[in-house]
């Protein structure tokens, strides 16, 4: 029974990774860059929500919505200020280094505003726990809400990308930016939209993550951010279902690793998975192999 409980916890943690990984993978697919500051947007989202809850005593749902809005704006501003000027830079390294710079900027800004001490996050999820198998298996409300949220986000995104006009524009930009422009797609607006969606989701991920692991510091986003990046690569960067599957598998691997091998090396296992995936299938599980006809 404990295995099933670990598995469910793994899926739950993995769902958070998946939501973060969606931001990585969409931004990579459309802007062709790795936004290493994405993890820190999660942290900003969590701080915003916590401040609204404790400082203003706001309704939790409203707080989460405002948190999402804050992160959405933050994502758009980061892209406009830091990444857009480098869009045609000769080296893709420039934008990568800038992303790392933005990551430090966000962490240190949070350090200035909120201080270095660990804040304990208030769990806003009121869904009751479910007891199964004569009380041998308990699934917490947070776990249930996390998994359901992830599924809803995933389905919503798939529908958005495949069935709406801006979604099709995203697919077109991701495949061929120039050709998309020739169709009349505003590439700048499409990239902004992608950052907006990814960052808004990051706020949700921040709340879910801190609800399950309620300690918040300015560095809270860094590790989950890196792991979500691993998840995105694992699933095939650029692929939305890939980010989902990659995230969940990674969460399961991490929790089972902690439970059965060692909690000390669980993170090492996660990164070992990345190395193995890159060696065996460099494009990831759902990675696209685009063959061009000339």
């Amino acid at each position: 029974m404990s295995f099933i409980s670990y598995l469910i916890n793994g899926i739950s943690l993995g769902s958070v990774y998946a939501i973060i990984a969606l931001g990585y993978t969409m931004v990579y697919g459309i802007a062709k860059m790795l936004n290493f500051a994405h993890g820190d947007v999660i942290m900003i989202g969590a701080y915003t929500v916590l401040t609204l809850l404790t400082g203003a005593g706001m309704n939790p749902y409203l707080a989460v919505l405002i948190g999402m809005g804050t992160c959405t704006v933050l994502g758009i501003v980061i892209e406009k200020v830091a990444y857009k000027p480098l869009r045609n830079a000769s080296s893709s390294l420039a934008v990568l280094i800038t992303a790392i710079g933005v990551s430090y900027l966000l962490q240190n800004t949070a350090l200035l505003i909120f201080g270095a001490d660990t804040k304990s996050f208030i769990n806003i999820i009121t869904c009751p726990s479910v007891s199964l198998a004569q009380g041998e298996l308990t699934i917490t409300g947070t776990t249930i809400v996390t998994i359901i949220t992830c599924l809803v986000i995933m389905c919503g995104l798939m529908l958005f990308v495949n069935k709406t006009k801006p979604g099709r524009a995203m697919k077109a930009v991701s495949e061929d930016r120039g050709a998309a422009q020739l169709m009349g797609v505003n590439v700048n607006a499409t990239i902004s939209l992608t950052f907006a969606i990814g960052s808004g989701l990051a706020a949700v991920a921040g709340v879910l993550l801190c609800s399950a692991y309620p300690s918040l510091t300015p560095y809270t986003g860094a590790m989950p951010g890196i792991k979500a990046f691993v998840a995105a690569v694992f699933g095939g960067i650029g692929s939305i279902p890939g980010a989902m599957i990659g995230g969940i598998l990674l969460g399961i691997i991490e929790i089972l690793g902690k439970a059965y091998i060692s909690s000390q090396v669980a993170d090492a296992i996660v990164f070992a998975v990345l190395i193995i995936v890159l060696l065996v299938k460099p494009t990831g599980l759902f990675g696209k192999n685009i063959q061009e006809k000339v």
Partner: protein, 236 residues
């Protein structure tokens, strides 16, 4: 007034000047061929025209509106469709989705449906394969898709970059037939081609580009008999 007036266009790639004072005109309803060797600046001219590349100097006027600094997505709305070199269809999208992308700037659903029906009528093969991924089409079919996609925006002028490149002779003839039909339907055509003979045979007028400069221009039927053209581009 000409439909399209390009004046003294200068374009640079870094420090390298690709276009040196290129000027030309396209009148409503004409088929204009832009011919020249590899690296002469034909594609650069088209890319500058449709906003993919910035011009350092010079102006581009379309129907009296200055579009020199207009972003590419706005130029499509003005009524210029660009069929890019190498077709550049969206290989992961279906044929139908590609055509829908072509109508991206169109809002009127009825008009889009009409355009789609017209494209299917012109390219029956695209209708047969409408649910297939564009990447699975043959080169000739992809060229048809790229042209159909451009026509979906109901353009006043269609700009085509090397439509015959890499196609079998049968397809080349078919593509040129289609260009003639598009022109007969009232759309102005600006055609860039390495197949100078074919291009001159369907064009009204032509411009010859050499290392970023227009070196010759005139009626296509005169140019096809011009000795220097015959020698340099027609292989005679």
């Amino acid at each position: 007034m000409a439909m399209l007036e390009v004046k003294e266009l200068q374009v640079y790639y870094g420090v390298i000047q690709a276009l040196k004072d290129v000027s030309f005109e396209v009148n409503q309803g004409e088929v204009i061929a832009l011919i020249g060797a590899n690296g002469a600046g034909k594609t650069t001219t088209l890319h500058t025209l449709t906003g993919l590349l910035p011009a350092k100097h010079g102006s581009i006027m379309f129907e009296g509106v200055d579009i020199t600094k207009m972003p590419a997505h706005k130029i499509v709305e003005m009524g210029i469709a660009h069929v890019p070199e190498g077709r550049r269809v969206f290989s992961q999208l279906s044929v139908y989705e590609n055509l829908k992308m072509g109508a991206y700037t169109r809002k009127d659903k009825k008009e889009i449906a009409e355009n789609l029906a017209n494209v299917y009528k012109r390219f029956p093969r695209l209708e047969e394969r409408k649910n297939q991924r564009a990447g699975t089409l043959s080169g000739g079919e992809q060229q048809m898709l790229a042209m159909g996609r451009a026509l979906m925006s109901n353009p006043k002028m269609i700009v085509m970059d090397e439509p015959s490149m890499g196609l079998s002779p049968i397809f080349v003839n078919e593509i040129f037939d289609i260009i003639e039909k598009v022109s007969a339907g009232g759309t102005t055509v600006l055609l860039v081609e390495q197949n100078a003979k074919k291009a001159l045979s369907i064009a009204d007028r032509a411009y010859v580009l050499e290392t970023g400069k227009i070196v010759l221009s005139g009626d296509a039927k005169d140019l096809i008999n011009d000795d220097s053209i015959k020698k340099a581009y027609l292989g005679e």
